[in-house]
């Protein structure tokens, strides 16, 4: 399209100015902080100390240890995104048929996404209560199984966080997949039917390859959002209970920054999280582009 400098400037300069002030500047500040020794008591009186904070994270034993939190974060991310995509795409495939009551079902299924996350988290925390929580009532009354101590045991508390997050995350993938499915031209399916294709042929050779370009970025985003999802772990496990054993990296940083006020230590941890995600995204997007040629 024809270039028109003032029009382009009018469109993008406001965004650049705002982002420079509220995103770029804090980012640089965070980098500087991560090489310093700032905490609440040295907020005006800090100086650079090089890589000491990073060395401390990787080598000094802490409670909980960095490596246990990291592996918990990986489990958390994988489990959540896996269930989000599987449930979301399956529901989208079902909803994309010509069913009676389709829009009613879609509406109900979007509900978990519509509810604010912190309410989801606090409500599920209540539902996981040992004596009065709905989950244990269902387990004991309808399934006749023993009640589960959800929030006092580290593993169960972590599973409770995952259940909560799977519940709230599948509608996003469903909506994305549904949008992609609706943009597939019907002619393709008609042509395939003329050629005698069965439903699984159509799924594998038409549907999945064609929703792939939309799903790959959505999954990348899903991984990043899940990896960085502070709300659910923080609120369901009430700041890492029992005794800081349910933290994922981002809730661990939040605690370091705002409960222990180790600002520079937290800044260095933020940098590490950022580096992990950056590496992941580059590798994932690149490898998925490479395999795309196969279709």
């Amino acid at each position: 399209m024809k270039q028109n400098r003032s029009f382009i400037g009018f469109l993008v300069i406001p965004a650049f100015v705002i982002l420079a002030a509220v995103v770029f500047y804090p980012f640089v500040y965070n980098v500087v902080l991560s090489f310093a020794n700032m905490n609440l008591y040295k907020i005006y009186d800090w100086h650079l100390i090089g890589f000491k904070q990073y060395v401390k994270i990787f080598t000094e034993p802490s409670q909980p240890s960095f490596y246990s939190v990291l592996s918990r974060t990986l489990v958390w991310t994988f489990a959540n995104v896996f269930f989000h995509v599987v449930i979301g795409v399956s529901l989208a495939l079902v909803l994309n048929q010509n069913l009676k009551g389709r829009s009613l079902f879609r509406t109900m299924l979007i509900l978990p996404w519509a509810i604010p996350q912190y309410i989801v988290a606090l409500t599920w925390r209540g539902m996981f209560n040992y004596e009065y929580g709905a989950i244990n009532l269902v387990i004991t009354k309808y399934l006749s199984l023993p009640a589960v101590e959800w929030l006092k045991d580290p593993v169960n508390a972590f599973i409770a966080c995952i259940i909560t997050n799977v519940w709230l995350g599948f509608p996003f993938m469903m909506v994305i997949a549904l949008g992609a499915l609706q943009s597939i031209p019907h002619e393709l399916y008609e042509a395939a039917e003329i050629d005698g294709a069965k439903w699984y042929h159509k799924l594998r050779t038409i549907t999945l390859p064609l929703i792939r370009p939309v799903m790959i970025p959505a999954i990348t985003l899903g991984v990043i959002w899940t990896f960085n999802n502070l709300n659910i772990v923080w609120l369901v496990s009430n700041a890492g209970e029992p005794s800081d054993n349910t933290h994922i990296l981002v809730s661990f940083v939040y605690k370091a920054a705002f409960n222990y006020y180790s600002f520079s230590y937290a800044a260095a941890l933020s940098m590490i999280i950022f580096m992990i995600l950056l590496t992941f995204s580059l590798v994932f997007m690149k490898s998925s582009r490479a395999t795309q040629a196969a279709y």
């Binding site: 399209m1 270039q3 028109n4 029009f7 469109l11 993008v12 406001p14 965004a15 650049f16 705002i18 982002l19 509220v22 995103v23 804090p26 980012f27 500040y29 965070n30 907020i43 399956s90 529901l91 079902v94 048929q97 079902f105 509406t107 109900m108 299924l109 979007i110 978990p112 519509a114 509810i115 604010p116 912190y118 309410i119 209540g126 004596e131 009065y132 709905a134 009532l137 009354k141 519940w167 909506v175 549904l178 943009s183 985003l221 960085n228 923080w234 609120l235 990296l249 940083v253 939040y254 920054a257 705002f258 600002f263 937290a266 800044a267 933020s270 940098m271 995600l277 950056l278 995204s281």
Partner: protein, 269 residues
């Protein structure tokens, strides 16, 4: 067909279950808050929790604070993103690729990456405990995603539409404003919803920036019911319900826009 319905019903029940819990808790009379029955509507339902919430607690103040902050963030998000997204989609200019790349990169920032420096800056600027602090934080969080969404959507609208409009005598701005922007309505709606929800349902940032209880947004208020020695479940249920209802209604009314092929066919023929 049957298995399709079975799956839809099962997941709908799972999706509705926590909502029903909240409704049920909010209607429980005071002596049955810790009930172990799974009744759909409690026996002797009572609206007392709602009355207490509205008359004896700061609920309306929290709602006002939340509304103010969310609306400010939404206006910023939609205005800036609808323009910048168009610029990124249609034109070439210096810094474009860098800009796009850094927008994506911000999505990888953990919450603390911006929150911590901003928190320290806000302390130094004396802006901690102000609406401005919260609005700035939320806009910073929401904007990159909004611009990216808008850009992606504009990319799907064929440029032949603007070309046709230009041939018919539209200015560049008019082609954008009158032809493309209306077609981008689904993306605008997503952007608006996203910005609004970023601010409306945010807890962890608000917990650090809005420490004074007169500035509390709804999430801080609701958490305070849960944080006290014994959780005030009735008030919590009533409050969550009232917070959820506007958002859920908004979401459901607009949900058909969320999945929509508005551009399909607009170039055909």
């Amino acid at each position: 067909m049957i298995s399709s319905y079975a799956m839809l019903v099962l997941f709908s029940v799972i999706a509705l279950f926590p909502v029903w819990q909240v409704v049920s808790i909010s209607l429980r009379p005071g002596n049955k808050l810790l009930s172990t029955d799974l009744e759909f509507i409690p026996s002797n339902p009572s609206l007392k929790s709602f009355v207490t919430l509205l008359t004896e607690r700061d609920f309306l103040i929290w709602m006002g604070n939340s509304a103010l902050i969310s609306i400010a963030v939404t206006i910023t998000g939609v205005a800036i993103a609808s323009m910048a997204g168009y610029g990124f989609s249609r034109f070439r200019f210096p810094g474009k690729n860098m800009g796009l790349l850094s927008l994506l990169t911000t999505q990888m920032f953990p919450a603390t990456m911006l929150l911590l420096p901003m928190y320290i800056m806000l302390i130094k600027l004396g802006l901690i405990n102000t609406y401005v602090g919260a609005i700035v934080m939320y806009s910073a969080t929401a904007l990159p995603f909004c611009i990216w969404t808008m850009k992606g959507y504009y990319d799907t609208i064929p440029t032949s539409l603007e070309e046709a409009a230009r041939i018919d005598g539209c200015s560049q701005f008019a082609a954008f404003y009158r032809i493309i922007l209306p077609l981008a309505a689904p993306a605008l709606v997503i952007t608006a919803l996203f910005s609004f929800m970023t601010a409306w349902s945010e807890y962890v940032v608000a917990a650090q920036i809005l420490q004074d209880s007169s500035l509390w947004t709804l999430p801080l208020g609701l958490k305070s019911f849960e944080a006290s020695m014994s959780t005030e479940w009735g008030l919590y249920g009533a409050a969550s319900l009232m917070v959820m209802i506007p958002v859920v209604i908004l979401f459901l009314t607009l949900s058909r826009w969320l999945v929509s092929g508005l551009t399909l066919g607009s170039v055909k023929g």
